[in-house]
């Protein structure tokens, strides 16, 4: 894998080893992610049917992580800024969105025995998780990480060291997952932030993302060709937009489902004006 180290390391053979180890770790982690979800489906097979779309979301999401970290896009990302940005879009935005929609926590709750499920539920209520899954914290981790990556030396350090590369990409995925889950996750969230808070965070995050994309258009990282930098920045801007608009739609779809008007049938004693409304429509 000599194309990985690009002459940055004092010992290319050792550096090559690091990158190979990283690839193996990624394959193993993705394998575990695929297997555990399948085991969950198997263990919960006696429960009410599991929507097929959730399973599809999960596995396509795993495919997006694989495409972002292994294979041709990841290879090209070491020399092409545009390919790098495509990899980031896949790993940091598209894969987290799809995997959140796969509702892994809900699946775990169904699959686990009662005692273990209660333990998981307690863990989710812990102060730690509560803090991390607050949209403000999650958005700060996400946007802050991106700004650090592209406005400091981190971008170069990442390409010189497999360990830094692994940490940056782990953070990218995890922060993407946390933010998506805190805003629109179908999984149970005992501390779900209010609609105004989630709306404000999403608007601020989209703003930070698009400002960074435009800033990168004018100031590509050192060593990146201007044309390549511009193409990458535009991919970040418009690709990010597609995911961001999807997030806005899902946020309001959640609100739409939650504010469903209660009919007289579902409430038992309906308010008088409910009857009038229904009469007026009929």
């Amino acid at each position: 894998m000599d194309q990985h180290d690009g002459g940055h390391s004092a010992n290319p053979a050792m550096a090559g080893m690091d990158w190979e180890v990283l690839d193996v770790v990624v394959v193993l982690l993705l394998g575990v992610g695929a297997l555990v979800y399948a085991l969950g489906l198997w263990a919960a097979r006696g429960r009410s049917p599991w929507p097929l779309r959730r399973t599809l979301f999960w596995y396509v999401g795993i495919g997006c992580v694989a495409a972002g970290l292994l294979g041709p896009v990841a290879q090209a990302a070491h020399t092409s800024f545009t390919a790098h940005m495509l990899g980031h879009l896949l790993l940091g935005m598209i894969a987290p969105l799809l995997m959140v929609l796969g509702a892994p926590i809900t699946l775990a709750m169904r699959a686990l025995p009662a005692v273990a499920a209660r333990r998981l539920s307690r863990l989710l209520r812990s102060a730690w998780i509560r803090g991390l899954t607050h949209p403000v914290i999650a958005a700060t981790l996400n946007a802050g990480g991106l700004w650090l990556l592209y406005t400091t030396e981190l971008f170069h350090m990442m390409h010189a060291s497999a360990a830094v590369y692994a940490l940056v990409h782990l953070h990218l995925f995890a922060a993407g997952y946390l933010l998506t889950a805190s805003l629109i996750g179908p999984d149970p969230d005992p501390h779900r932030a209010s609609m105004p808070v989630r709306s404000a965070v999403l608007v601020l995050f989209i703003a930070a993302h698009s400002i960074l994309a435009k800033w990168l258009f004018a100031h590509p990282p050192q060593g990146v060709e201007p044309a390549d930098g511009r193409a990458g920045a535009q991919l970040m801007y418009y690709g990010g937009d597609v995911v961001d608009v999807t997030l806005i739609v899902l946020l309001f779809a959640g609100w739409y489902a939650a504010t469903r008007p209660r009919t007289s049938r579902s409430r038992g004693s309906a308010r008088a004006d409910d009857h009038e409304t229904r009469g007026a429509r009929a």
Binding site: S199, L202, V203, L204, F205, I206, A207, A208, S210, I211, K214, W215, F217, A218, Q234, Y237, D241, D244, V245, I248, V249, F252, A253, W255, Y256, T259, R260, P261, D273, E276, T277, A280, R281
Partner: protein
């Protein structure tokens, strides 16, 4: 339906229309027609200040947000009551006109964040842009005025 909720629904019809109208003006008309199709605006105007860039980013995010917000408000109203479509359309046109006027006057002329087109005499473009915005705004307000007393009719 009580009189109170009727007024409430009417306010929501207006809010939904104006949000959606401003939103499509900001995110759809501006992005798809002027940035992507005609490529008159630049993706990024290198001469602008960092402040203008930041303002643009917030604006962009808010544009998409209010577009979707307006549509979901409409969907919510639809399942609760009959929508007065003419009134809603009037609110949408008002929103488009209001936004284009704001954009044409404040961001093009007062702040100078970006212009409609570069390297040409701007007067004609500005007259067409701001003029059409005023016309749209007037049409929208007229439609709202004419549908004011019959909020429930479609």
């Amino acid at each position: 339906m009580s009189r109170h909720s009727k007024a409430q629904f009417d306010r929501r019809v207006l809010l939904s229309g104006v949000l959606f109208g401003s939103g499509i003006a900001a995110s759809m008309i501006d992005l798809f027609i002027f940035h992507l199709a005609l490529q008159w605006h630049h993706f990024y105007d290198l001469s602008t200040t960092e402040v203008a860039l930041t303002a643009d980013g917030f604006f962009h995010a808010f544009g998409w947000f209010i577009t979707v917000w307006g549509l979901f408000l409409l969907a919510d109203l639809r399942r609760r009551t009959a929508i007065p479509w003419k009134r809603w359309a009037g609110a949408v046109i008002t929103g488009v006109g209001f936004f284009q006027l704001l954009d044409g006057v404040v961001s093009h002329k007062v702040l100078g964040i970006h212009q409609i087109r570069y390297g040409v005499d701007l007067l004609l473009y500005d007259v067409v842009w701001i003029g059409s915005a005023v016309v749209l705004l007037l049409i929208g307000l007229l439609m709202l005025r004419r549908t004011r007393h019959h909020p429930a009719t479609t």
